[in-house]
């Protein structure tokens, strides 16, 4: 059952240089208890997507221009700020990349942990304190009683990220959105946090949207993967679909361009060029200018969704028969 459905979502930002469409018509489904990874490079729109789901796009300059975000049938795009405040933290929680700036330096960890609980649930002070202690234990912080009265600067980076995770989970939300949760951490600390995510999901059944650029982390924790490029999803499927049966040239290029610890390659295979400028995105497929297999139709018409197998979708004319017909059409027009 899908607890979250994003349909045809468009998000734009007005800037001095003109309007940038950061997210350009994406569709996503999240099932109960699964981990969906959104993968892509900086500027591809993955964080904007996450912020749009939480309705945290600063407005102005940002705006959700089209589409719907259905959380258990309720369209979040239409909700008032007041309603959203009840949903955030209670039903959908989010954790951010930088654990250093996600906590208020002037309040104790205990106060910050209990704040959300008091906001959303009718609990006594003692109950809130007990719950906060339980959460610190769940995320593996030693001496939770003592830690509750300490301030963020008394915690290391890895420990702060654990506190942030505890804060996000204290109201038992159904969805946890994690935006690059381990990028600012060292790799041995990252391993601790990833293990924590897996354990929390087993114990609480929370559905996770994991936003990252690290394919190794994705290979470890994701159930399904959506690959984004220039504001669009270009391929999505199960973890096995993406790692072993990827069909989009960008996905393939991404997989080939990272060195692997276990394999010795003489040379890496980079993707030539750089992502397009979203002030003036390409007319056809946004990857066409960098794509080694681009055909005429790719430069002219944006590709549509093609189902390769159940739940494995790709947006690429190479995989769609209709591309040929379209190519003939554009040729006659000329």
């Amino acid at each position: 059952m899908n607890i979250l459905e994003v349909n045809h979502l468009h998000v734009s930002f007005s800037t001095y240089g003109g309007t940038v469409e950061a997210v350009r018509g994406i569709n996503l489904q999240l099932e109960k208890g699964e981990t969906l990874a959104i993968v892509g490079e900086s500027g591809c729109g993955k964080s904007v997507t996450a912020n749009a789901i939480m309705r945290l796009i600063p407005q102005p300059p940002g705006r959700i221009t089209d589409g719907s975000i259905l959380f258990k049938g309720q369209n979040l795009v239409d909700q008032s700020e007041r309603t959203m405040r009840h949903i955030r933290g209670r039903d959908i929680s989010m954790i951010f990349q930088d654990p250093m700036t996600a906590l208020n330096p002037t309040l104790t960890i205990g106060t910050q942990l209990m704040e959300g609980l008091k906001q959303h649930k009718a609990v006594s002070k003692e109950e809130a304190r007990q719950k906060a202690l339980d959460m610190l234990r769940l995320v593996g912080i030693p001496n939770p009683k003592e830690r509750l009265t300490q301030y963020p600067h008394q915690f290391s980076g890895g420990m702060r990220q654990r506190v942030v995770i505890a804060m996000a989970l204290i109201c038992e939300p159904e969805i946890l959105i994690a935006d690059e949760p381990t990028t600012a951490l060292d790799v041995t600390i990252q391993a601790q946090i990833i293990e924590l995510f897996e354990r929390i999901q087993r114990e609480t059944g929370v559905a996770i949207i994991l936003i990252t650029h690290d394919l190794g982390v994705v290979a470890k924790v994701a159930d399904r993967i959506a690959v984004m490029y220039a504001g669009q999803i270009i391929e999505k499927g199960t973890k096995r679909d993406i790692f072993y049966h990827a069909e989009h040239p960008y996905t393939l290029g991404l997989l080939k361009s990272v060195p692997r610890l276990d394999i010795k390659e003489a040379r890496l295979t980079p993707i030539d060029g750089t992502p397009p400028d979203l002030f003036s995105p390409p007319k056809g497929c946004s990857f066409a200018p960098r794509c080694p297999y681009a055909m005429e139709v790719c430069h002219e018409v944006p590709p549509i969704q093609t189902e390769l197998e159940q739940n494995h979708h790709v947006y690429c004319w190479l995989q769609d028969k209709r591309g040929k017909a379209l190519m003939a059409q554009t040729a006659t027009k000329k």
Binding site: E41, G158, D186, T188, H213, L215, F243, G253, L268, P270
Partner: protein, 319 residues
């Protein structure tokens, strides 16, 4: 036996913090780099790897120990020889956004080292050289009069590389040259560095935290932890036969982008966090997180020694 190009002996760099505290950023680090090879230096943030690079360059003054370049002790060089040393040793920095002056054109940025080092050239010759350098790093003459903000991260890093090459150096210290770049662009820059190394017979000290990338580019790898070099060996061997418990944990913590392999892998999860370099643990600095710590580890500092040909480890398990 050929003489190593660069030799670092018992290098120490301590910083004063506050009134009486001392931050031990680098402690007794010893290694050498042979002509034409790439030595990778890896470790997590705060392990002292960047400080090693900067101290070799002379950007920081060493506390003790010595840096020997082509058989000469760098700190004993005369002012004139110092200049020659700096010409021969160049650095590429991590952040392509912060390491280029935003108010200079690309041409000024690349020509600056030539002017500082008084390479006797006319203006026209200098421009010719700038264009040649731009072409070598995959840019072209049209880029010469533009400003850094007009370039993407990958292109900026190419400009940084062109600047480092301007004086025809023999040795390049690259401090996290790709960690600020996107995945698909990282491979472009790494390939460029490898190609330039072959064409110009450059020697590299490659400092990074991404062990998969370091393993890809390096002949040998040194692993650092809290200011100490804990293991040093040939890069493939380091992956296949890591000896130091920290190296073993570090390798196992790096996820491999392949779900089937990832499922089978055993992870050594290190407990706790990095101790402070202001007040490091007694004896072996890793003992507070080490799964194999023994009594001796808290008393005596392990010696960095060769346990098999070409494989150095600092650990009491192998003594």
């Amino acid at each position: 036996m050929t003489r190593p190009m660069l030799q670092v002996n018992a290098l120490k760099k301590h910083f004063r913090v506050g009134k009486k505290d001392v931050l031990q950023a680098v402690n007794d680090v010893t290694f050498s780099v042979d002509t034409g090879e790439t030595l990778g230096l890896v470790g997590e943030s705060g392990c002292g790897k960047s400080t090693v690079g900067r101290t070799i360059m002379g950007l920081y003054e060493r506390t003790s120990g010595e840096v020997v370049y082509n058989g000469q002790r760098v700190h004993e060089l005369s002012a004139k020889d110092q200049t020659i040393f700096h010409r021969s040793l160049q650095m590429i920095f991590q952040d392509p956004y912060a390491s280029l002056n935003p108010r200079s054109t690309v041409r000024e940025i690349i020509a600056e080292p030539m002017i500082i080092h008084k390479m006797t050239m006319t203006k026209a010759e200098r421009l010719e050289r700038v264009i040649q350098l731009l072409e070598e790093v995959g840019l072209n003459r049209d880029h010469a009069n533009r400003y850094p903000h007009e370039f993407s991260g990958g292109q900026r890093q190419r400009i940084g590389i062109a600047r480092a090459l301007a004086l025809n150096p023999d040795f390049i210290i690259a401090d996290e040259p790709i960690s600020a770049l996107d995945v698909s662009v990282q491979a472009q820059v790494v390939n460029l560095l490898q190609q330039l190394q072959q064409e110009k017979q450059l020697t590299f000290l490659f400092i990074a935290h991404d062990l998969s990338m370091v393993k890809h580019i390096s002949d040998r790898i040194g692993v650092m932890y809290l200011g100490h070099l804990v293991e040093l060996t040939e890069s493939r061997h380091l992956y296949e036969q890591p000896r130091h418990p920290y190296t073993q944990a570090l390798l196992s913590a790096i996820p491999i982008p392949d779900p089937d392999i990832e499922k089978e892998r055993e992870r050594i999860i290190l407990q706790g966090d990095l101790p402070s370099p202001i007040n490091p643990p007694s004896g072996c600095v890793f003992r507070t997180r080490c799964p194999a710590a023994m009594d001796i580890c808290s008393v005596q500092k392990p010696i960095f020694r060769e346990v098999e040909p070409g494989h150095h480890v600092a650990c009491h398990l192998y003594e």
